[in-house]
Symmetry: C2
Subunit: 223 residues, 2 copies
DNA sequence: GTCTATATCCCGATAGAC
DNA sequence: GTCTATCGGGATATAGAC
């Protein structure tokens, strides 16, 4: 059963994979609406018929794409953090992962993520998928964040689940802003923001850390 | 006044205004791409010819719409803050302005804002307009934030210009998240995040502070 | 300036050969 | 499953009467 099934099955699987890869790239670059089914198929070295045979519709292709990402993108995003050692360095690594525009693949996801969000606001079917995917990502990162904060001894602004929301929101917003106008987002800005949210004692701007109270700097005497 | 000039000139101006108003509403609700020129014209009580006579193209209509907003939207957004008194209440008011979805008009702008951002990432012509508009908004809010932090005695995570970026990023990201999944963004979460960013000493996570939590309405039992 | 009518194009989806 | 060919629909934009 090996030979025949292998070649046929592999061609089918490869076509599917190539269609998805092509769709991911084109959708991110030009937007879902701006990309025709023919364009996706052509970029994958197939024709539009293949798309409909595999996914039934353009929407089906988009949903399959979302489903594929559930296990890949955000997991990878946070996985790299553990490698670094210093607390501040780890926060910096998170932002680097989000904001890096040098690599094609990593530069893709924020725009696409943004587009999907926008689509979700109008298309309930997309909203369901994105919501589930987002919830999983938040739970996962909440666990990691919780472990991280207690290991570093930070005093965050909110419990883990909500802190995860805050962090993701800040990173998303900063990535957006950096894409629009890179000069307004210096490299250390995300670090400062994240440090403030998680209550990391080290990174204060001008005040040298007195190490008695973590989040609470001295209250200036005036009113 | 002049009878002839009044009727003719006013009809032209009114047509232009109605086209812009209709475009704003439809673009926000359904997305720029999903709305045809005919639909805009019809909603304004005109036909598509009027659009091309006034704006030359659909893109021209969009740019005219952006130009119109430069002086209106975000200025109004922050202006309302000054009314409140307590520091925490003021932070809450900012978030309330951003996240309020009850009113039609206020519910419109975040989606449209996000869509424009997305468009700006792909269309340089749009990017120019949005970037300028955003820079103005940031400068304006930086001034207000600076005055605010010094009056309240907060110790922010960054200098005013950069702090404004952080705050806008957090609000943007939270608004996105709330739109996708409202349950994950409790009302006081934004307050906590903002307080952490600006270094407001009062709002700590679980510690009951005196009576500064005035903004918080009852939380309806989820789902 | 505004309308009606239309030219032109391109998209999503389907039908049928292989 | 994949390709070629095509249908039907709807989009932007233009032409010309008024």
């Amino acid at each position: 059963m090996e030979r025949m099934a292998r070649t046929q099955g592999e061609r089918k699987a490869e076509t599917r994979a190539r269609l998805l890869a092509a769709a991911a790239e084109l959708f991110a670059d030009q937007g879902v609406d701006a990309v025709s089914v023919d364009a996706v198929a052509e970029a994958a070295g197939r024709t539009s018929g293949a798309v409909y045979a595999h996914f039934g519709s353009k929407q089906g292709l988009l949903l399959a794409l979302l489903d594929l990402w559930k296990d890949s993108v955000l997991t990878v995003l946070l996985a790299e953090v553990a490698v670094t050692d210093s607390p501040a360095g780890q926060l910096g690594a998170v932002w680097a992962n989000v904001s890096d525009t040098s690599d094609r693949e990593s530069a893709r996801w924020p725009v696409l993520e943004h587009e999907l969000w926008l689509r979700a606001a109008r298309d309930p079917e997309v909203a369901d998928v994105v919501r589930v995917r987002n919830a999983e990502a938040l739970r996962y990162s909440a666990r990691r964040i919780d472990a991280w904060t207690s290991s570093v001894g930070a005093t965050p602004a909110a419990p883990p689940e909500e802190l995860a929301v805050l962090i993701k929101a800040l990173l998303t917003g900063l990535a957006l802003q950096k894409r629009l106008d890179p000069d307004t987002v210096p490299d250390d800005l995300a670090l400062r923001g994240l440090a403030a949210l998680v209550g990391l004692p080290t990174a204060d701007d001008h005040r040298a850390s007195d190490r008695s109270t973590s989040t609470r700097p001295d209250r200036p005497p005036s009113n």
